[in-house]
Symmetry: D2
Subunit: 322 residues, 4 copies
């Protein structure tokens, strides 16, 4: 039997486009005749009843803003069996029989547990890192990519004017997708990702020498957060080549900003799909994107899928960016 | 036998990301040991030998700029059997045995004809309209979408401050994809596309009334160029509802600007793929994107494929944007 | 004696930065120990008591958004002696003894009339057109300039790729400042402003010919709204020169968007200054900017000042943009 | 007697808008009938004859790009009496009797020395820091301000979503202007500048407590590079308040990017003025901006002027940003 009263929350790190997903859940739920609650500060709001009933106007003018209008927070209490039971009890008290959780893998484990306590719960992938194995795309990823690219475009102006080398660290602890795509888009001479070990001499110094031989005098090197040692790498390059080399860590700037069209549209489609599942009485699913299609997977299965790194693109990157 | 000497040109309307495709063709060709020519102003340059040999530095620092560094132009002369023969003869004179054409359907017909004259030719879809049936994505589309969205975000600020209605015309003569996606991304109350006839009372006025009943006081309506009558529509709305209504035609602004990451990355991958085909002695193919994969199709077959409009997204749009 | 309870409203056309001015008035008033009201929809809100008491958090997170969080509207009723009396009576009823009006010349006439009825009123110049004689700068102007420039930068990409001419109409009915500055910033071959009559042959055609003789193949011409005939001008140029020429009217996009730093900072300083005047028991003043200084003028005198067009910049523009 | 043949170079750190200044010098010089050289990589190019003659098209399409198309570099050799003599000799060899140097204080000392060797030299202030005492404005400052502001706007999205505190370091070693203005524009709770010592308890902790008492839950603190200790400050705040606090150093991103309108327009006017001076046979002057006027000063006097910090704005900032 389909859900009659649903709640939506954002959990884990915020990502641009989360607001579009929230808006889609709220408006789709209302248009399906459901009662809809917005839950504040992730699972915490569910634990402590910090939620408010939403109407069509509750989500007006939030889609174009970064961050999450529902706020987000970690919830150590929810990450215990007692916490999950308490949250489920709160749902029953409020009459909530379906929940949409927008977040990453950690948030999906909570969604699975909540479904286990009888509350149909759906996960929507929202994280800038694109580090969720079951989906080609996570909400926030495209905005983060474009923010990183635009910032490196700016760094390039000054790098080029001074005939320098710039080493730029972008987000991505376990997943090199931001680094790889940004590297292609800014023409990085070398891109270092956590998935592929690198050889300083071969992947950095030799490529600088090769590029120099074609007349190039400035160099951008993109490094994923998970590779690290960015400042140290810059110093080694300067020492080895004599080229003035600067390190920049882009940091939290990449998490915010008005979402790109793609983040708004994908988030809208995913939020709609999540509510369709709940309407059909289905829980414990992650909404995902495969190519241009919106699909869904069993959460438990999704959490066990291995991520696949795009080796072809990595190779293309090396060919194009001399 | 694979191509040894290739040329690249941009043809038809320019699109952001064309430079990334040109850069990818040049650098991939050079890395494969080919000689590479850049052809100026589309097929015209091929007819009149207006081309220059490229090296690794010839395409430095073009990827981040809109437009096309090779320029583009219409070529009535090339659109004749004699023109095609003359272009093929020029290719033979210069030793060019492979050509990559970046453009739209019209440009692909030229590519097919040139292959017919013995010059292996590959098409890469470059047009902001996303109106090429065989591919999910055309180079320039994502930038145009984001430009249109950002401009309508700005229009919304003033529309909202004055409790007005704004009717905004975006590009797309035959294809409503820009309108549909932009409409979702800006929360347009109604989106009018060439693929689906509309009823003024039901699709425009009734939706305004419905939104008004929920407390909404400002309205954005997105219209594809192919639907037209934008100014007239604005006047009808104002007359019918009494709400002050303004029309804006976004126009050529949508064609330019620094390409988004997606346009740069997809263009890079497509350009690489095009040269791989030529290296393998394959011509008469269009490079295309299916989901996240780069594939290719026979040009003749590609030109006959019907475009499919995303009815589901159209429906989602109507649900979300009240 | 200084004001103890003040109100702030935005009036006339909205402009980016108005929110920063509202925020400055509210927070400065509160920090001075005043009671502060926000008035909705311009003078209408004053007539009908549509206002709310503000606290420090009432203006959080509005500064970075375009438009006005207080909304704006025309008020024919206020533009009568009875309307002004009614508004003044409402002020007395609410205990309001000082008002800050953010808007243009029309709004300042209202401010003068309200002061005449015993309510100390201060005008803050907020209009994108920079058409207020007493001040070097109006809130919203810098954002509008940059928006127009960025849009024309985009148009240039496609204009250049096709060897075309583009005629672009920017805002400014009586005042050519947006056109003049945008023209310099985009390298417009010719800029047409309402303050200076133009000769089609000499100022347009001859300059195109001159630029052609230096090798230039694309041309941007900027036209202020008050000059008009943009579409017609494009057609005449194409007919006369044979160069494909397109017209674009930028329109309401120029009114919105996140305010630039300059608009936020100047608006903040002006809002602060306005409350300082009220605290000192001074009304009937317009806040203004002279160079980098914030000053103020008697409203009546300010309304009679003649605007001065920057002839030197106009000349510089012609020298630089061949 | 006026200069007949001039050269232009960019020196020191690059700044957005330098290209507009170069373009203005080149085109003004040509329009005055002068011969004009572009000098590569600062004073180095003058020492080694690395320069090229410019025509009207040499500076096409550079104005909208960050960095400097003439490149820049430090020149230890020029910073010696022999270096200056050698550069002057090269000028005489090429027939150059006037030079325009776009850069900061260090570059102006070179300009003074070159004038001393008989080559009329004019300085144009180009540096993002706004740290040149004689002028209200330096080319590049407005772009850097807006870049910093936009990045902090993004950081705010995630700071607010998580109820965090963010400490953000912006450029400015000796001069707090970027920090002060950016702080006002982003609503920083506290702004720390090199000109004014701060008290951790009073200026940071007490202000956080005060803001908390009004209901505020996220905090931005802006720190100028010259104050430093950004990471350490973040840790102290977190320790003292228990609020999760993150540090971000914006770094070299602030140096690049397409120049804002203000940087393009001021650079154009300054470049024009520099050539007017040379045409009148005047050297050893710095072009400067006072309010909205372009003026000039004796270089030696300019270098001795004390910078004045805007104490009033500092006070306004503290009032507005609770």
């Amino acid at each position: 039997m389909g859900a009659k009263c649903i709640a939506v929350l954002t959990s884990g790190g915020d990502a641009p486009g989360m607001n579009a997903a929230v808006r889609a859940v709220v408006r789709t739920g209302l248009s399906f005749g459901m009662k809809v609650y917005g839950v504040m500060r992730g699972y915490n709001g569910l634990l402590h009843g910090d939620l408010k009933e939403m109407n069509m106007r509750s989500v007006s003018d939030i889609m174009q803003h970064g961050g999450t209008a529902l706020f987000t927070a970690r919830s150590p209490e929810f990450n215990t069996p007692e916490g999950v039971k308490k949250a489920a009890a709160m749902c029953r008290e409020k009459g909530i029989d379906g929940v949409v959780v927008i977040g990453g893998d950690g948030s999906f484990r909570g969604a699975r547990d909540l479904t286990g306590e009888g509350i149909l719960t759906i996960g929507v992938p929202g994280t800038i890192d694109n580090d969720i194995a079951c989906t080609d795309y996570t909400v926030g990823y495209d905005t983060a990519l474009n923010t990183a690219m635009e910032m490196i475009d700016r760094i390039r102006d000054t790098t080029e004017s001074h005939d320098r080398c710039s080493v730029v660290e972008v987000m991505g602890r376990r997943c090199g997708d931001i680094a790889l795509n940004t590297g292609v888009a800014v023409g990085a001479l070398t891109t270092l990702v956590p998935e592929i070990p690198y050889d300083f001499q071969k992947d950095v110094i030799d490529r600088i020498r090769l590029a120099q031989s074609t007349g190039k005098r400035h160099y951008i090197i993109v490094v994923a957060e998970g590779v690290g040692h960015t400042q140290e790498l810059a110093e080694r390059i300067q020492k080895e080549t004599g080229i003035e080399t600067r390190a920049t860590i882009l940091g939290h700037v990449q998490r915010g900003g008005a979402p790109t069209l793609r983040d708004r549209v994908v988030a809208s489609r995913m939020g709609y799909h999540a509510v369709e599942l709940l309407q059909n009485g289905i829980g414990n699913r992650v909404v995902a994107m495969k190519g241009e299609e919106i699909v869904d997977f069993d959460i438990t299965e999704a959490l066990e899928m291995p991520r696949v790194f795009d080796e072809k693109m990595y190779k293309v990157s090396a060919v194009l960016s001399i």
